[in-house]
């Protein structure tokens, strides 16, 4: 079994800051932590596994346990980020438990393909993580360098063309307001849903607004008056996303029958919409 470079491994170990929690279960602090791939890399480093090694069941267990621990209300949106990775790992674990040798059915093949895809993305993620170290080092080196950039000699300064000034006091004040405005305004990240597309997030907001009045509604009622097919699809996906976020529950008495949706979230904040539907952003 190959292990990753030791220097990097040490760094990963440090960053992971693992500690046994009260019940003895493994846990990882969220500080300086950067999403599912990061977690996966840290778990792999902790077990000194080559990331192409299939014997990942220990890592899978920890990963799944971690995802389960995310189950707090404020972590719901985060947890959704992990679902794809977690599902892939579970598939891999199932394949790992099967007798080695022949692959019997398409599901196993799909799991292996998913594994390859996961590894490919993990490798890519790790490659850029390593490349970023080079960036960091270069930035630090160059910050210490000094270059000649001195005030222009007076005799040349007098020769420079006059400034063309077109800014009114009002524009000037607007510029100041822009500069003084707090930089990181917490916004719902709708920007990466682009103009012609239908926003699942917006549709989710619609659905939430309709359902939060209290009365359960059928899906038919939820799409009443909507004519564009895209909007109907997005609204349906939004319902599924809200279900995934434990904000709504379904009732369907018979297959293909009327679907009744009920608002069930006790603590709801519109912030939860921020990451909703992120999987559809591509």
């Amino acid at each position: 079994m190959r292990t990753a470079g030791t220097a990097e491994q040490d760094a990963l170990h440090e960053a992971a800051a693992e500690r046994p929690s009260g019940d003895g279960a493994f846990s990882i602090t969220l500080e300086n932590f950067d999403g599912p791939f990061d977690l996966l890399l840290r778990l792999i480093a902790k077990h000194e596994l080559d990331i192409t090694e299939v014997a990942l069941s220990a890592v899978t267990d920890e990963f799944i346990r971690y995802v389960r621990a995310l189950d707090g209300a404020e972590q719901l949106d985060r947890a959704s980020e992990f679902l794809v990775v977690a599902a892939t790992l579970l598939d891999m674990k199932i394949v790992g438990l099967l007798p080695q040798g022949e692959l019997v059915d398409a599901e196993d093949v799909a799991a292996l393909e998913a594994r390859d895809l996961l590894f490919a993305r993990l490798l890519q993620y790790r490659a850029f993580k390593l490349a970023s170290q080079w960036f960091g080092t270069r930035f630090d080196q160059e910050t210490g360098r000094h270059w000649r950039s001195v005030r222009l000699e007076d005799r040349f300064r007098r020769q420079t063309p006059d400034l063309v000034w077109t800014t009114s006091p009002e524009d000037f004040a607007a510029l100041a307001a822009l500069a003084f405005a707090p930089k990181a305004i917490p916004v719902v990240g709708l920007e990466h849903l682009h103009a012609p597309l239908v926003s699942i997030r917006e549709q989710a907001a619609e659905v939430a607004a309709l359902l939060r009045r209290g009365e359960p509604l059928t899906f038919r009622q939820l799409i009443a008056g909507v004519e564009q097919k895209g909007v109907i699809v997005a609204r349906f996906l939004a319902v599924l996303e809200l279900y995934r976020g434990a904000a709504v529950s379904f009732e369907q008495l018979e297959p293909l029958g009327e679907l009744t949706v009920r608002w069930t979230a006790e603590h709801w904040s519109d912030d939860a919409l921020a990451n909703l539907g992120a999987d559809y952003d591509n």
Binding site: R2, A4, G5, T6, A7, E8, N32, D34, G35, P36, F37, D38, D50, I51, T52, E81, V85, R121, L123, Q124, Y125, R126, A127, F128, K129, L130, A131, S132, Q133, W134, F135, G136, R138, F139, D140, Q141, E142, T143, G144, R145, H146, W147, R148, S149, V150, L152, F156, K183, A184, G189, E191, H192, H194, A195, P196, L197, N275, A278, D281, N282
Partner: protein, 190 residues
């Protein structure tokens, strides 16, 4: 009006003179335009000045050097004197980039032009605020907007090259070895 060709030695002195007032790296083309000399002649002059300041033309190794950075030439203090100079000029160093920002920057640098959703897919997290930071620092900029999806694509700027102390994006270390199944790639820096 015909212009006399400038003797090489004079051209070197003129390049030197212009570099004394320039506050950005100067490309050979800009220098050639300003000096009314052909680009190859300017290139030779610059090369001779580099050697000259490096002490390879009979003179001393100067306390300064001529460096190509971000697609242009600029006078730098030689690294061994940076410490002395630091105590001297009060420059203000920018705050360091976060690890997340560095990693996002690396993704953009190697995969440009790239859209935010594409960056997010590589990073597996939401990158909106980090992209905003990098644009604000002038390290990346909008390249174009995809007419179909409306997605803004980003590319790196010349300022990034200057701050990395490199001359073109091709000077970045190759990322391919890092992507190969982990055999050698990950040991590169060990």
């Amino acid at each position: 009006m015909t212009t006399e060709p400038i003797a090489p030695i004079d051209l070197e002195r003129r390049v030197e003179a212009v570099l004394m007032v320039a506050d950005e790296p100067q490309s050979l083309v800009t220098l050639a335009t300003a000096l009314g000399a052909p680009v190859p002649a300017v290139r030779q002059s610059v090369e001779r000045l580099v050697a000259d300041y490096d002490g390879e033309a009979g003179g001393p190794r100067r306390g300064f050097e001529l460096r190509e950075v971000g697609g242009g030439w600029r006078i730098y203090v030689r690294p061994e004197h940076d410490e002395v100079v630091r105590e001297f000029v009060l420059t203000q160093t920018p705050t360091r980039l976060s690890q997340a920002a560095l990693e996002t920057l690396a993704v953009v640098a190697y995969k440009q032009p790239i859209s935010r959703p594409q960056i997010a897919a590589v990073r597996s997290v939401n990158v909106d605020s980090v992209v905003k930071t990098l644009v604000g620092r002038g390290l990346i900029q909008e390249a174009f907007t995809d007419p179909e999806t409306g997605a803004i694509h980003y590319e790196t700027t010349d300022l990034l090259l200057v701050q990395l102390g490199i001359n073109s994006i091709e000077e970045l270390p190759r990322v391919a070895p890092l992507l190969e199944d982990g055999r050698d790639g990950f040991d590169v820096d060990a």
